[in-house]
């Protein structure tokens, strides 16, 4: 019985497959500008690609690299925000779902967020979106990276308390981005 349990246990250990090519690109046509407005519940149609990226350790780790390579940290820092809004809290001006974050990166947002359409290939945008979700503890704890590539003053992002995406509310320390 013990041997059987051990074999069954080992057989259950499946290594996450690394999807190196990513699903085919469809262009950002699944996301429209008109139905987006700050702070509302998401009328954005769910994208089937979001699921493939969201709980996947390989994609989140890639997103972590791209976050630095494409200078997201130049404005958002390591999630704490500075020039741009914080990404590790519960407040989302343009929605905290995978689809919404994807749309914000591709289309850009007022007051400084550039549009990365055509500049970042779609699979990479999804990977960055998955990492951005992980920054506020919204990724699967088993999939989120346990250590950053560089020294950081924040705890490992798989150890961050979950900040469920909520409405952007103005707090006493909230900076004005409008």
């Amino acid at each position: 019985l013990l041997v059987f349990a051990a074999v069954a246990g080992l057989a259950g250990c499946e290594r996450e497959t690394r999807d190196l090519k990513g699903p085919p690109e469809t262009g950002p046509k699944g996301v429209t500008v008109s139905d987006l407005y700050p702070g509302a519940s998401s009328p954005t149609p769910p994208d089937p690609r979001a699921k493939a990226y969201e709980g996947n350790a390989f994609h989140i780790a890639n997103g972590q690299r791209y976050y630095r390579w494409f200078n997201c940290n130049g404005c958002h820092f390591n999630g704490g925000g500075g020039i741009g809004p914080a990404l590790m809290d519960s407040q989302w001006r343009y929605g905290g779902s995978m689809e919404r974050i994807y749309a914000s990166i591709v289309q850009g947002r007022p007051n400084g967020m550039p549009a990365f359409k055509d500049k970042i290939p779609e699979p990479q945008v999804w990977e960055i979106a998955a990492y951005v979700r992980a920054l506020s503890g919204n990724a699967d704890k088993l999939a989120a990276p346990s250590r950053p590539d560089e020294m950081q003053a924040i705890p490992p992002i798989n150890n961050i308390n979950k900040q469920p995406p909520g409405r952007a509310a103005r707090g006493p320390n909230d900076r004005d981005y409008h």
């Binding site: 690394r18 190196l20 090519k21 390579w69 494409f70 055509d118 500049k119 290939p121 699979p123 590539d149």
Partner: protein
């Protein structure tokens, strides 16, 4: 026939032959010194091996002749002075062999650390899975960066500063010298003093991930005048594209994903995430020795990098046929 080929290859192995990637054809002081250690080891260990085999054969022969005789009493045998002398000599031989090997290794180790006068300084950074080479200079205008290729002047020591961008790699140019590990957060140094011009191949020698095998570096050893000409050329910026297709390609390069990672000297493209493409058309290979540098291979590489080198950081960028040929036409102007 097969045996003949075997002996032939062994003969070639021992006599040395000319090849772009072999330790048996040293083209630099450092590789020649390592070769001395290797040949000394082969001689000492080969001699000991032959002696052991001869002794075993002798013992077997002797035992088969003695079989008929009465076995000696257990626990009480007569002294065998010849055997005792032989064993003492054997011990002395082992000691002499080990001392000899240690001495040679120690002396060669010391000479490997020597730096000649006026060394050429190059910073090599290994990434998954390509090599970045930064040639240092007295002023920023004397510095330049290239990828997956090194040019070295003959008869001048090059001090190579080794860095790693992600995981541990190892720099190994069998004809010239190495291996030396490239370790994240640590700086290692390797000295190379080439003594013969030619084109040599270096390779990552520490398993570093999915495409470890496709991580090669072409090292060209030039005469000093040729090296200086190459260096001057690398310091310059590529000319602006003249024909319409290449100009369209440059526009695409700047408006699509290329510009997010790659740098082209003299233009707005200044990212340093991927290899510097300022003089890509003059390099011998693409994607760290994965492909020969031809327009066809370049187009193939841009079309499907994940098919040619799965896991590499180069993403697939969606380009239509005309867009692809325009980008390739532009990159081909970057001589």
């Amino acid at each position: 026939m097969r045996q003949g080929a075997g002996w032939l290859s062994l003969g070639l192995l021992l006599c040395g032959f000319r090849a772009a990637q072999t330790t048996l054809d040293p083209a630099a002081d450092q590789a020649a010194q390592s070769d001395v250690v290797w040949r000394t080891m082969l001689a000492v260990c080969g001699l000991m091996y032959l002696l052991v085999m001869a002794f075993l054969a002798w013992a077997l022969l002797k035992a088969s002749r003695r079989r008929a005789e009465v076995p000696p009493a257990v626990g009480h045998t007569a002294a065998e002075p010849a055997l005792e002398r032989g064993l003492a000599g054997w011990g002395a031989l082992i000691l002499a062999g080990l001392v000899g090997l240690t001495t040679v290794s120690f002396l060669v180790d010391r000479t490997l650390a020597e730096v000649g006068r006026d060394p050429l300084k190059i910073k090599v950074t290994a990434n998954q899975w390509w090599w970045q080479a930064d040639y240092e200079g007295a002023t920023p205008s004397e510095q330049f960066s290239t990828a997956n290729e090194l040019h070295l002047p003959v008869n001048r020591t090059a001090v190579i500063e080794l860095h790693a961008g992600d995981v541990i790699h190892s720099f190994w140019a069998p004809n010239l010298g190495g291996k030396e590990d490239l370790i994240p957060g640590r700086t290692n140094y390797l000295r190379l003093t080439p003594r013969r011009t030619g084109v040599f191949r270096a390779q990552c020698a520490e398993f570093c991930g999915l495409q470890h095998a496709k991580m090669a570096l072409t090292i060209t050893v030039d005469r000093p005048a040729d090296f200086e000409a190459w260096r001057r050329h690398q310091l310059g910026t590529p000319p602006a594209p003249s024909n319409a297709e290449a100009q369209a390609g440059q526009h695409l390069f700047h408006t699509r994903a290329c510009v997010m990672c790659h740098r082209v000297g003299g233009t707005d493209a200044g990212a340093t995430v991927g290899p510097d493409l300022s003089h890509i058309a003059s390099r011998p290979t693409l994607a760290a020795g994965t492909l020969p540098n031809t327009p066809e291979a370049l187009a193939g590489w841009i079309t499907d990098p994940q098919g040619l080198k799965p896991g590499a950081s180069m993403p697939k960028v969606s380009l239509s046929g005309p867009e692809l040929s325009a980008v390739v036409a532009y990159l081909e102007t970057l001589k």
